[in-house]
C-alpha cells in the first residue's frame, strides 16, 4: 500500500524527524487559508500515488497566498498518469543549501533491508543510479542487530563534511529506520533531505510503501489508505479478500492463484482475446468470495465473456461450484460463462455445476479458447 506524502511526513514527525510544517487541503479556499497561516511563500504539491508529479505540473511554487490559491486551482482536479488530484499539500518554502537522497528499501537479493544515501538528492534515485551510480552508498542492515549507531554515523559523515550536519543526518537515518520498521514499510524515502541556511537537516519530501501483509497489526497505518484514489471495484475486492485489477479487455478471468491467473491472461491474449481483469480468488476460498468476484465482473460493461479457471489445491472445487451457482442465482449475468474446474474435490464440484445447468471443462487451453470465442 502506498501512502501520501503528507501521511509519510506525519509518520516521520512521530518518529522525531524534523519535517517543516505543512497542511493538507482539498479546495482552493483551504489552500488560500493554509498558505496565509504558513506565511504566504509556499509550495503546493499534488498528493497522488504516482511518481513524476513535478514534471506533470503537480508541484508549484507560490510567492504569496493568492498565488497559492491559483496554483491549487490548476492542480486540484488535474489528472496525473490517469489519477485525479483530490488533495494538495501546502508547505512553506525552505532555504535549501543542499539536497541529498535517503532511502530504505526491502532488498530481495540480500533478504534484508538496505539503506541508500546519495549527496545527489532532489531527483529520482533511478536517475541518480544510472547517471552517477558511484554517488550512492548502500548499507545492508543485519536484521539480528538492526542499524548500529556507528553505521548511521558513518552514512552521516558520508553525506556531509560538516560535523553538525553529519550528526543530524545520522539521527535522521536512525529515526527513519525505526519508522520503517514500526509501520511495516518496504520502502521509505526522504528525497530531498536538505540542509537549510541555518544548518538544519530536514526532510522535505517523503514517500512510503507499506507491506499489505503487515497491515493487520497496524490499524493506524491501514487508516492511511486513500480509498478515493483507488478503483472502487478494487476496494471492494480487497475487502472481500480478492486480488482484482481492472483492465481494458472483454474476457473476464476468475482464477485461483496469482501465477495461474497471469498465465490465464497470457493465454487469453495468445488466443486473440483481451483480458478484462486480473482476478485471483486466492486459497481457502469460501463461496462468498466467488459471489463477490462475479458481482465485480458483472459490473464491468466491457465484459463479453466470463472465464473461470480453477485448479483446486487448498481451494476446493465444490466451494467454487457452490459460489458460481449462488452468484448466478443472485446476479443477472448476461454474458456466457466458461468454466474450467479440476483438482481437489473436482467430482463434487462438477456434480454441483451439472445439477445447475453448467458445463465444466478440464483442459485450460480449451477453456480459454472457448471463452475467447464466446466473447466475439
Amino acid at each position: 500500500m502506498n501512502i501520501h506524502e503528507y501521511q509519510a511526513r506525519q509518520i516521520l514527525r512521530d518518529h522525531g524527524i524534523s519535517v517543516p510544517p505543512g497542511e493538507v487541503a482539498t479546495s482552493t479556499d483551504e489552500v488560500l487559508e493554509a498558505a496565509k497561516r504558513l506565511g504566504g511563500e509556499v509550495v503546493v504539491k499534488a498528493q497522488v500515488h504516482v511518481g513524476g508529479r513535478g514534471k506533470a505540473g503537480g508541484v508549484k511554487l507560490a510567492r504569496n497566498a493568492e498565488e497559492a490559491r491559483e496554483a491549487a486551482d490548476l492542480i486540484l482536479g488535474m489528472e496525473i498518469k490517469g489519477i485525479e488530484v483530490r488533495k494538495v499539500l501546502v508547505a512553506p518554502i525552505e532555504d535549501i543549501v543542499s539536497e541529498a537522497y535517503l532511502g530504505i528499501v526491502l532488498d530481495r537479493p540480500n533478504q534484508a533491508d538496505t539503506i541508500m544515501v546519495s549527496a545527489e538528492g532532489g531527483v529520482d534515485i533511478e536517475e541518480v543510479a544510472s547517471t552517477m551510480p558511484d554517488s550512492i552508498r548502500k548499507l545492508v542492515i543485519d536484521p539480528r542487530y538492526g542499524l548500529l549507531n556507528h553505521q548511521a554515523a558513518s552514512l552521516g559523515h558520508y553525506l556531509y563534511d560538516e560535523v553538525g550536519a553529519a550528526r543530524q543526518a545520522a539521527s535522521v537515518i536512525a529515526k527513519l529506520y525505526s519508522a520503517y520498521r514500526a509501520v511495516g514499510a518496504t520502502l521509505a524515502e526522504i528525497n530531498p533531505l536538505i540542509v537549510n541556511d541555518r544548518g538544519e537537516v530536514k526532510a522535505i519530501d517523503a514517500k512510503m510503501t507499506i507491506d499489505d501483509n503487515a497491515l493487520f497489526r497496524l490499524p493506524d497505518i491501514e487508516a492511511c489508505r486513500d480509498l478515493d484514489t483507488e478503483n472502487s471495484s478494487e476496494v471492494r475486492a480487497r475487502e472481500a479478500e480478492l486480488s482484482y485489477i481492472h483492465l481494458d479487455g472483454d474476457v473476464a478471468c476468475c482464477v485461483n492463484g496469482a501465477g495461474l491467473a497471469m498465465a490465464t491472461m497470457d493465454l487469453v491474449k495468445f488466443y486473440g482475446g483481451e483480458p478484462a481483469n486480473f482476478l485471483d480468488i486466492g486459497g481457502s476460498s469460501n463461496p462468498d468470495k466467488v459471489v463477490c468476484a462475479l458481482e465485480l465482473i458483472s459490473e464491468d460493461p466491457k465484459v463479453r465473456s466470463i472465464l473461470f479457471n480453477i485448479f483446486g489445491g487448498i481451494t476446493r472445487c465444490d466451494d467454487v461450484a457452490n459460489g458460481i451457482v449462488e452468484a448466478t442465482k443472485r446476479i443477472d449475468i448476461e454474458v456466457p460463462i466458461t468454466i474450467r474446474l479440476t483438482g481437489t474435490n473436482e467430482d463434487i464440484g462438477v456434480e454441483i455445476l451439472k445439477k445447475n445447468g453448467f458445463e465444466a471443462l478440464v483442459d485450460m487451453d480449451e477453456a480459454v479458447k472457448t471463452a475467447v470465442a464466446r466473447g466475439r
Binding site: L106, A258, L260, M262, A263, D266, G343
Partner: protein, 292 residues
C-alpha cells in the same frame, strides 16, 4: 531419498486442528506421508482423528516422535513464530504453506533458519511432492505421476496446471516443488535445481517463474554454469501491465527489472527452452528427455 522428502520423512503438522491443517493432514496421510505428530498450543495430549498425537510445542513433538520435517498451516500472524519454533526444534525441513506473512517477519526468520542450517520452503507455497511416495503441503496428489521430470515453480496453482499437463501427456515427475511467490522465501530456484541435478531419479527439469524480482535470471545463469541436465521453462505474466501488482507481493515490475520478457530472454540466453504457453512445456520436456 527423493528431493528434500522421501520415505524417511516423518512429518509434524503445525496447526493440525485448523480448517486447512486438518483437511490437508488427512490428504497427506491418504497419500502415504508419515504424519507422526501435530501441534496446536493448548491441545497437547489430544489425538487428531483418534490417531496422530497432538502436542503443545514442536519441541515436544520432535522429542516424542522423531519428526524430521514440519509443515505449517497456521494463520499469517503466527507463521513467523511457527517457523522459529520449528527451526529451533531441529527438524531438517520446514514447509510453510501460510500466505500473507509480513516481510518484516521474514527478514528475521530467514536469518535464523539459515544460521541453524534448516531448510525452509515457502512461505506462501504449495509444498512439495514425490509421486507415489510422499507429499508435504497442499499439492493435489491425484495429478502427479511417478517419473523423471523435476518440476520447480514460484507459483501455486500454475504448478498444478503444469504437472497436470505433463501427467496427461504421460510424462511422470521425480518431484514437484513449489517455492512460493513471496518477495522473501527460503529455498529458491537455485537450491532446487542443485537438488535435481544431484538427484538420480531426475532426467530433466521444468522451471516455472513469474514476473517480479530477478530469481529466474539468477537461476538461468546457474543452469548454464553448473548444470548438465536439460532445463525448460515458462514465465507467467507476459501480459501484465507494468507497475501494477498481480496478487503476489513478489510479482511487481520495478523499473527495468523483472519483466516476463527479460526473464524469457535470460532463459533463452542460457540454454533453457522457453514455453510460450504452459502446454508447450510438454513438447519441450519430451524433446529434452529424448536428447538426454
Amino acid at each position: 531419498m527423493g528431493v528434500f522428502i522421501g520415505p524417511e520423512t516423518r512429518l509434524v503438522v503445525q496447526g493440525i486442528t485448523g480448517r486447512d491443517g486438518s483437511f490437508h493432514t488427512r490428504e497427506m496421510i491418504d497419500y502415504g506421508t508419515k504424519v507422526v505428530a501435530g501441534v496446536t498450543p493448548g491441545k497437547g495430549g489430544q489425538r487428531f482423528d483418534d490417531d496422530v498425537p497432538v502436542f503443545n510445542t514442536v519441541d515436544e513433538a520432535v522429542k516424542e516422535t522423531g519428526a524430521n520435517t514440519s509443515v505449517i498451516y497456521v494463520p499469517a500472524s503466527f507463521a513467523a513464530d511457527a517457523i522459529f519454533e520449528a527451526a529451533e526444534s531441529e527438524v531438517d525441513l520446514i514447509v510453510c504453506i501460510t500466505e500473507g506473512v509480513p516481510v518484516g517477519d521474514m527478514v528475521r526468520v530467514l536469518s535464523y533458519v539459515s544460521e541453524r542450517g534448516v531448510r525452509l520452503l515457502g512461505p506462501n507455497c504449495p509444498g512439495l511432492i514425490v509421486p507415489g511416495c510422499c507429499k508435504v503441503g497442499i499439492l493435489p496428489g491425484q495429478i502427479v505421476l511417478d517419473g523423471n521430470v523435476g518440476v520447480v515453480s514460484r507459483s501455486g496453482t500454475l504448478t498444478y496446471e503444469v504437472i497436470f499437463q505433463l501427467t496427461r501427456a504421460g510424462i511422470g515427475q521425480s518431484a514437484c516443488v513449489g517455492i512460493g511467490g513471496d518477495p522473501l522465501i527460503g529455498t529458491d530456484f537455485v537450491d532446487c535445481l542443485t537438488a535435481f541435478e544431484e538427484d538420480s531419479e531426475t532426467a530433466a527439469i521444468a522451471m516455472i517463474g513469474e514476473i517480479g524480482g530477478t530469481d529466474e535470471q539468477v537461476a538461468a545463469e546457474f543452469v548454464s554454469a553448473k548444470m548438465n541436465k536439460p532445463v525448460v521453462g515458462f514465465i507467467a505474466g507476459q501480459t501484465a501491465p507494468p507497475g501494477r501488482r498481480m496478487g503476489h507481493a513478489g510479482a511487481i515490475i520495478s523499473g527495468s527489472e523483472g519483466t516476463a520478457l527479460e526473464k524469457m530472454r535470460a532463459f533463452q540466453e542460457n540454454g533453457i527452452g522457453v514455453a510460450e504457453r504452459p502446454a508447450d512445456l510438454v513438447g519441450l520436456i519430451q524433446e529434452a528427455l529424448s536428447r538426454s
